[in-house]
């Protein structure tokens, strides 16, 4: 049954088709979407990766156009959050002024917190691609939808699995040291880990935070030497992570395991290629794709053909844009409220993440989960959970 509005829309569409019979479907109005990431500043690498993922998704979607909107194409408005929340929020203002129907972004938790709130003022639907801080979806913002898992879920999976690995190996590891970056993502993750770990019999010896950027980890690694923990858990962004692990290598600090949460060498083909020796044996609990899904392998090939690394930023943002396109298709409209509504009811399942069909509760995709991966024999392998397992875990790395 069609109401008055859809009747008018349909008649208008029909009239357009009649008036311009030769151009036909190409006349469907493009839907403007904002793609907002920190492509300059301290987080530039990750932000640019996100943007590339988004652009590949838009390329795929525009091949056929959005069916529900008569084959309409997505028109991208790119934004740069300059690695700060203020700049991110300012970009939302511009995107609103420019008439964007929705926004996908903005990678870092602290930036997402600002951009989702700014977008909420204009009822502008905002799909969060990475932003793991749970506050992002806990403020009752109706416009905010996160496809991936939050840090509480990730910390729980990480700690639970660490306990299982340790128990199976005869409990060789007793002490833990956490090193995290100082913004919302790192601090929040570290707090959750420090709270959960003692319940599983681990003693948290030290929790150290560092700034972005940090160009000298010598003091932190010296402290690590003095504390001598069995397990080192980093929670930080790529540049600092790489420097930390390399400094540990320089200073010859070798714990029983390096167990990264939301980041790390075992979920970064970039790290693996740049520092294969340092990467060996590292375990990550991070965003990862279903390794058995061919579409992931295809996207990886396409990404690498462009000379880029297939990092989680690429596939997270890729699928986040697909999720949005799916919602616009279901909404059959570029209207903000209609898209928000379609996102809230989304059952998007045409993707290669290990999440199943989406089901949003208060803006959080309830099926989202991280996977556990490990660098084994020079490649990244999924070790947990069983249904995605590619290789058996090696734990502890050193007796």
């Amino acid at each position: 049954m069609s109401n008055r509005r859809t009747f008018i829309q349909q008649s208008a569409a029909a009239a357009t088709t009649l008036a311009f019979p030769l151009v036909g479907g190409a006349q469907a109005k493009a839907v403007k979407v904002g793609i907002l990431h920190p492509v300059t500043g301290a987080l530039a690498f990750s932000g640019q990766q996100c943007r590339e993922g988004a652009l590949m998704a838009v390329e795929d979607i525009n091949k056929a156009g959005i069916k529900g909107l008569g084959g309409a194409k997505l028109e991208v408005m790119l934004g740069d959050a300059q690695s700060t929340p203020q700049a991110g929020a300012a970009e939302i203002e511009k995107m609103n002024e420019a008439g964007c129907a929705a926004v996908v972004g903005a990678y870092a938790s602290a930036i997402c917190l600002a951009t989702t709130q700014a977008a909420a003022k204009y009822n502008l639907p905002h799909v969060v691609d990475v932003g793991v801080a749970d506050q992002i979806v806990q403020r009752g913002l109706k416009n905010t939808f996160r496809f991936g898992p939050g840090y509480a879920a990730c910390a729980q999976v990480a700690v639970g699995n660490l306990h299982v690995l340790n128990t199976l190996a005869g409990k060789p590891a007793k002490t833990v040291m956490i090193i995290h970056e100082e913004s919302l993502f790192g601090t929040g993750t570290a707090n959750l880990l420090a709270r959960e770990l003692p319940g599983f019999g681990f003693e948290v010896k030290d929790v150290i935070k560092h700034a972005n950027p940090t160009r000298d980890f010598n003091n932190i690694v010296l402290r690590m030497k003095s504390v001598n923990p069995d397990i080192v858990i980093p929670a930080n962004y790529y540049n600092e992570y790489a420097l930390l692990v390399r400094t540990m290598q320089q200073q010859k600090v070798m714990p029983k395991a390096i167990y990264s949460v939301l980041g790390g060498a075992a979920s970064s083909y970039k790290f693996l290629k740049e520092f294969p020796d340092a990467a060996n044996g590292i375990i990550d609990c991070n965003h990862w794709f279903n390794p058995k899904d061919k579409r992931a392998a295809e996207l990886r090939q396409r990404t690498e053909a462009k000379g880029l690394f297939f990092t989680y930023e690429i596939f997270n943002t890729y699928t986040a844009v697909r999720l949005l396109a799916d919602a616009i298709d279901r909404a059959k409209s570029a209207d903000r409220a209609a898209i928000t509504d379609a996102l809230a009811k989304s059952t998007f399942s045409d993707h290669f993440m290990p999440y199943g069909a989406t089901r949003f509760e208060n803006g959080q995709n309830m099926g989202a989960q991280p996977l556990m991966t490990q660098v084994i024999k020079g490649d990244i392998r999924v070790i947990v959970p069983r249904e995605y397992r590619e290789a058996d875990p090696i734990f502890p790395l050193r007796a």
Binding site: T40, G41, A42, A44, Q82, S83, E182, I208, K209, H210, A211, P213, T214, R215, D216, N218, N219, I220, L222, R223, K225, S226, N239, R246, Q249, Q250, Q251, K252
Partner: protein, 290 residues
């Protein structure tokens, strides 16, 4: 934490950083000691030098250490031209004008860098970036040791210039008694510009030693300039020996502070020293009583 195996590497690490701080502070104290200019553009000039080293490496593949003969004279020329072309003219002989001119210069330079290079943090990779040497229980990164030796050598050269050459005598004469020096036939404007040039040349050397183990972005100078001002005050305004000792001391304080208080809070020691010196020994460690 108080084991030798932990403290010793931390102190060494601090000394290597401190030597670079000293080199930056030497340039600042030279400019202050002679010209009585508090150069707020010092950090921005360091940033310019770092970008110079970065571009030479990324565009032409020139190793940062081999870039020394290009960057140091380059920065010297920039400094000489800045002093004669802008600072001297715009000051009209008044110190408060100079303060504002150098402050304005720093804002212009930082925003130019922002325009040209965006706010990205850039680093360079060299074959020796990850090489370490073992000294007792400490593993020290090779670029840091080179920076330490290089900064000390550059400081030594600067001290030699000031103490032993005609230019150095002229500089000291102008610093003590400008009008007297002028009456003796010294070209004061030239000496002023030479001082500014040498001061910026120090930054060029510091940039070459710094970049293999550090990074560059448009705001990178501000962190250094605060530390350099602290060192100049600690050592005594215009005192070269003071800048050298002060630099090393501040480097060690920062490193030990980072070890015990964490990276974010570690710098607190530097500014505690700054306040303490101002309160109890305002002339600095090596400064004459005012």
């Amino acid at each position: 934490m108080l084991e030798f195996g932990i403290l010793f590497p931390s102190v060494l690490n601090g000394l290597t950083t401190g030597a670079v701080y000293a080199l930056i502070a030497l340039g600042l104290t030279l400019i202050y000691g002679v010209l009585h200019i508090i150069n707020f553009a010092h950090g921005a000039a360091l940033m310019v030098a770092l970008y110079g080293v970065y571009l030479l490496k990324s565009r032409f593949g020139i190793d940062p250490y081999l870039a020394l003969p290009v960057v140091v004279p380059g920065m010297f020329v920039v400094g000489y031209a800045l002093q004669r072309g802008i600072i001297n003219r715009a000051s009209h002989g008044r110190d408060e004008n100079i303060l504002l001119v150098t402050l304005g210069l720093s804002i212009v330079l930082e925003n130019l860098a922002l325009l040209l290079f965006k706010s990205d943090t850039r680093t360079i990779e060299t074959a020796y970036t990850l090489t370490t040497l073992q000294i007792g229980p400490a593993f020290i990164a090779l670029p840091k040791l080179v920076a330490f030796a290089g900064a000390l050598a550059a400081s030594g050269l600067l001290l030699w210039i000031v103490k032993r050459t005609d230019l150095g005598r002229a500089i000291r004469a102008v610093a003590k008694e400008k009008h007297g020096a002028k009456l003796m036939g010294i070209d004061v404007d030239h000496v002023y510009a030479m001082c500014f040039g040498i001061g910026l040349g120090c930054l060029g050397a510091a940039a070459c030693f710094l970049l293999p183990a550090y990074y560059v972005n448009p705001q990178v100078g501000s962190g250094f300039v605060l530390v350099a001002f602290t060192i100049v005050v600690l050592g005594g305004m215009g005192s070269f020996a003071g800048a050298l000792v002060g630099g090393l001391l501040i480097g060690v304080v920062e490193s030990i502070g980072g070890l015990f208080l964490g990276e974010s809070l570690g710098q607190i020691g530097i500014f505690a020293i700054f306040i303490a010196v101002l309160l109890f020994r305002p002339q600095g460690l090596f400064g004459a009583r005012v």
